[in-house]
């Protein structure tokens, strides 16, 4: 399955969810509160369209960081840069103390960065359980042949992974749909399954792209609860893009505001809420008297 270059990450999590056990390859251990990921002077352009220009901010370990801004501000582009989907023309990302030039998405994943997508990118024909198991792929050590024959070590490994996945299913309360084809599920549940798949990787950093999009109030409250629980229970650092101001203010520790590709504010929710530039970006400039 994978080339064996990266060692199997021993999942040091017990039922109480006490944090990560072993270290991930590449990068050092970061203490809670220290900078986990730093974005330095990143610029990304698609031809003439300047998606992101000279943006710098950091994400500290254990926090929930929101990236907000009006439509077209460059938020998803920013996330894609962190994830490795886009390579910025300028600037660099430093993850766990090591700069990451030209990082590919799978390298980001191996390094401990997981993400969800705005429009849900699940395998529609597979069951919820299989989708979340797919998130364990990077941790599967035994090769294709072993897994086909399902002999001893491969079986033990699969049982172990299944155990972890069942814990996630229990955590997200989706037991009743574990064998349901994901394509048949309502939107809110699909989003939950996708969150589960991201969690299956046991990420250090979880990127959520508009997790509340298309949800009603009840669903938003549930998703917010899950996000908080993930942060509390697993200790995962979370960066999320979100439009619902209420959610952002309630959930996040710190907020970065982008507008037209430029960072216009960075601070706690309270600080950002009162920031004049932010208000103008959303509501337009004050009419001149």
């Amino acid at each position: 399955m994978n080339s064996g270059r990266y060692s199997l990450r021993s999942s040091g999590r017990n039922d109480d969810g006490e944090g990560h056990g072993a270290t991930r390859p590449g990068g050092r251990d970061i203490a809670a509160g220290d900078v986990l990921l730093a974005v330095e002077d990143v610029s990304l352009a698609f031809g003439g369209v300047k998606a992101v220009t000279g943006v710098s901010f950091d994400i500290r370990k254990g926090e929930i960081r929101a990236i907000i801004g009006p439509n077209g501000a460059g938020k998803t582009s920013m996330l894609n840069v962190i994830n490795g989907f886009y390579q910025p023309q300028r600037g660099r990302i430093t993850f766990r103390g090591r700069p990451r030039p030209h990082m590919r998405p799978y390298e980001a994943a191996l390094g401990g960065i997981a993400r969800t997508f705005q429009n849900v990118a699940l395998f529609k024909g597979m069951t919820a359980l299989d989708n979340i198991m797919a998130g364990r792929t990077l941790m599967m050590r035994r090769g294709l042949l072993w897994q086909l024959l399902r002999l001893g070590p491969a079986l033990t490994e699969e049982t172990h992974h299944r155990h972890r996945v069942e814990e996630i299913i229990d955590f997200l309360k989706i037991q009743h749909i574990r064998k349901v084809q994901v394509g048949k599920l309502p939107y809110g549940l699909q989003k939950r399954v996708e969150l589960g798949r991201a969690l299956a990787m046991e990420p250090d950093l979880l990127l959520l792209d508009e997790p509340m999009a298309g949800m009603n109030l009840e669903e938003k409250e549930e998703m917010s609860r899950f996000i908080l629980d993930v942060n509390n229970h697993y200790g995962t650092t979370i960066a999320l893009i979100e439009h619902d101001m209420g959610v952002v203010m309630d959930l996040s520790d710190r907020v970065v505001v982008l507008d037209h590709g430029i960072k216009i504010a960075d601070g706690t929710p309270a600080e950002v809420q009162g920031n004049q530039a932010v208000i103008e970006a959303y509501l337009g400039p004050e009419p001149s008297r």
Binding site: G17, E18, R162, E166, I169, D170, Q175, N232
Partner: protein, 656 residues
């Protein structure tokens, strides 16, 4: 077995007997993390002993009460037995009860300990902690989310068990002391206190004795021939008398296995996996199962649909007769056998009913069509009747004597009487000791010669010898022209329609009868889908004119059925409205067992009732809706009122 049970006069003693006699047989199952875990009787005894020792070490004493709050989980059932081992009295509380309800029960019962399921219940208790000065310890089953809580008063049940186990191994004196406590238990001891969510007034704590429970359960185990090889799914609320009776008492008496589902959502799937041999469900659940089936059948291919309906016809003709053991022509039997192979067998399989030998329903009247349907496909569905004060069983239908409109003959050793005013009275092995701390109401509910008044009106059907329930005695009233008005009788007829989830009719001391209806979202929603009706919310669907048309037709059918009975002919419904929201236990409109609180509903919906009787075409209302966490929100609505046709009844002289 009867003599053995007689020697074992408390539930802990029964557990010890079972561990000896059924040692390696499964006793409890629980689906956790996707797989079924199982504990044998021996293992259960070991766990519960360790648990009891642990609880004793935490300070639980004889005479204390211990609240049990949560859904069906082995550790919570074991909490009941562990408390009983030490001589404490368990007090189960409904898992979905709000903070106020829980505070009332715990304060009223002076609970010192509480065994709860998970973080949600712990949070609930902590939020009302100041109202419960006597509550000292909270033990919990599910660890998730509780890691960072202050564990001064909190402890995980698994830790209590481990602590008890270790202490029992190190100090033999502890084990001996525990055994002495178990031996000291007497049949006359208070075994459990079940709070009955009254349809009027505050909950009352029904105190039951150990020997009463065991004797009653022994009778019904013999009646239904339950053995240690049976399996049941425990999915109905733990705090409900039925669960304590069917899943706790009967299981301990007979030695059969109880399976706890993974979660409320997966209960029906889990049932399929377990294949219980005994099944109980309120009529609502049977109805939902059938509706779900019919909905799925609508989406099947034409061949399957035709086969399905054809064989259901066969079942209707021969099914019940075959089940009742009556004579059926050979051709009929062969056709039915083919139907069993093609349709009824797979159907029962999908519903998880393949291995069910005996199924019961109770709680409210079941529609005769629904009842016949299940019997016709070979499910031995029977009715029973009882109440918490009787420790459930008062009557049950014996095999071979099943009728859709009775609730059965008196159970073994139950002495049933009908008072002059039609109220049903009883004396039974399982009857309660009294209401906790409420001698006044206990006395109110007993007659001079020691019979308990059920509060239900009924009569013994001369043809069958079975009991027939009319209504709650208090609710039977009269219209202004003197004719009899039994709201429940009419409501039951309305509720037989899958589209109508709940009905409340009004008419006492009025000129005519009106009805307030709740639609069933599942049935009406799927009907709306198939008929291209768009709706954005329950309120919108409930107000849709086509839905009103459909329900008006149902009401008119009910009127025609009422017109055929002389006593009921004048109680036909003239006007009705569809409520904008479902009647909900959280709002206090129905009890936790879904029985309508008539007085409360009449008060709350007074504007509607006024509009129904003053001829208005519409009515406005503003109601408070309570969420499970106690938050309140106001919901306003304007609801339409519909007149319906009644069958003209010849004017009789005014009844005296």
């Amino acid at each position: 077995m009867a003599t053995d049970a007689a020697r074992a006069d408390t539930f802990p003693k029964l557990l010890i007997r079972n561990a000896r006699r059924y040692a390696g047989r499964p006793a409890y199952r629980h689906k956790d993390l996707g797989i079924w875990q199982v504990w044998t009787w021996e293992e259960v005894l070991e766990e519960v002993r360790a648990y009891a020792a642990g609880l004793a070490r935490l300070g639980l004493k004889r005479g204390d009460t211990m609240a049990i709050v949560g859904s069906n989980r082995p550790k919570l059932y074991w909490s009941v037995t562990a408390a009983q081992m030490v001589g404490a009295v368990p007090v189960p509380v409904y898992a979905d009860a709000g903070p106020d309800e829980v505070a009332f029960v715990l304060a009223h019962s002076d609970a010192r300990f509480a065994a709860v399921e998970d973080q949600e219940q712990v949070d609930k208790l902590l939020s009302i902690a100041e109202r419960l000065p006597k509550l000292e310890r909270i033990v919990y089953d599910e660890r998730r989310g509780l890691r960072d809580y202050d564990h001064g008063r909190l402890r995980a049940i698994a830790d209590v068990i481990a602590d008890g186990r270790g202490a029992l191994a190190e100090e033999p004196a502890l084990g001996q002391g525990l055994d002495r406590e178990i031996d000291a238990g007497r049949g006359s001891d208070r075994s459990i206190i079940l709070y009955t969510s009254g349809t009027t007034g505050q909950s009352k704590g029904v105190v039951l004795s150990a020997i009463g429970c065991i004797n009653a359960a022994s009778d019904t185990v013999a009646f239904d021939q339950l053995t240690a090889g049976d399996e049941a799914l425990a999915y109905l609320p733990l705090a409900w008398v039925g669960d304590h009776y069917l899943n706790y008492a009967q299981a301990l008496v007979a030695g059969f296995c109880i399976a706890c589902p993974e979660s409320a959502d997966t209960a029906m799937q889990d049932m399929r996996e377990i294949g219980p041999t005994f099944f109980f469900a309120p009529p609502r659940v049977f109805e939902q199962m059938l509706t779900g089936l019919m909905i799925r059948m609508e989406d099947a291919g034409p061949l399957k649909r035709r086969l399905f309906h054809a064989f259901l016809g066969v079942a209707r003709r021969y099914g019940e007769k075959i089940l009742n053991g009556e004579r059926v022509p050979i051709a009929g039997r062969m056709l039915y056998a083919l139907g069993e192979f093609l349709i009824y067998g797979p159907l029962k399989n999908v519903l998880g009913l393949s291995r069910v030998r005996t199924a019961y329903t109770a709680g409210e009247a079941i529609g005769p069509d629904l009842f016949s349907f299940y019997r016709s496909i070979g499910l031995n569905l029977k009715q029973l009747y009882g109440q918490t004060e009787a420790f459930l069983y008062l009557t049950a239908q014996p095999d071979g004597k099943i009728y859709a409109d009775t609730v059965g003959a008196a159970m073994t050793n139950v002495d049933l009487r009908i008072a002059e005013n039609g109220e049903i009275l009883f004396k039974s092995p399982g009857m309660f000791v009294g209401y906790l701390k409420d001698e006044a109401r206990t006395a109110e509910v007993m007659t001079a010669d020691g019979y308990v008044k059920t509060g239900d009106a009924g009569f013994i059907d001369p043809k069958t010898g079975h009991l027939k329930i009319i209504d709650r005695a208090k609710d039977v009233g009269r219209l202004n022209d003197g004719s009899l008005f039994s709201p429940k009788y009419i409501e039951n007829k309305l509720k037989y329609y899958p589209n109508i989830r709940e009905a409340v009719v009004h008419g006492d001391a009025h000129d005519f009868v009106c009805a307030m209806l709740n639609i069933d979202l599942g049935a009406v929603g799927s009907w709306a889908e198939r008929n291209n009706i768009v709706y954005g919310s329950y309120q919108e669907l409930a107000g849709h004119p086509l839905v009103y048309d459909m329900l008006a037709r149902h009401v008119e059918e009910v009127n025609r059925s009422l017109a055929e009975e002389e006593a009921m002919a004048r109680a036909q419904i003239r006007r009705f409205l569809i409520l904008h929201k479902e009647l909900d236990a959280d709002d206090g409109e129905v009890t936790r067992t879904q029985k309508v609180r008539r007085g409360f509903v009449a008060e709350r919906y007074a504007p509607f009732i006024k509009a129904l009787y003053d001829g208005s075409r519409e009515a406005d209302i503003s109601t408070d809706v309570t969420f499970e966490d106690g938050r309140k929100v106001t919901l306003s609505a304007r609801v339409k009122i519909r007149d319906v046709e009644t069958v003209p009844v010849p004017v009789l002289e005014k009844v005296a």
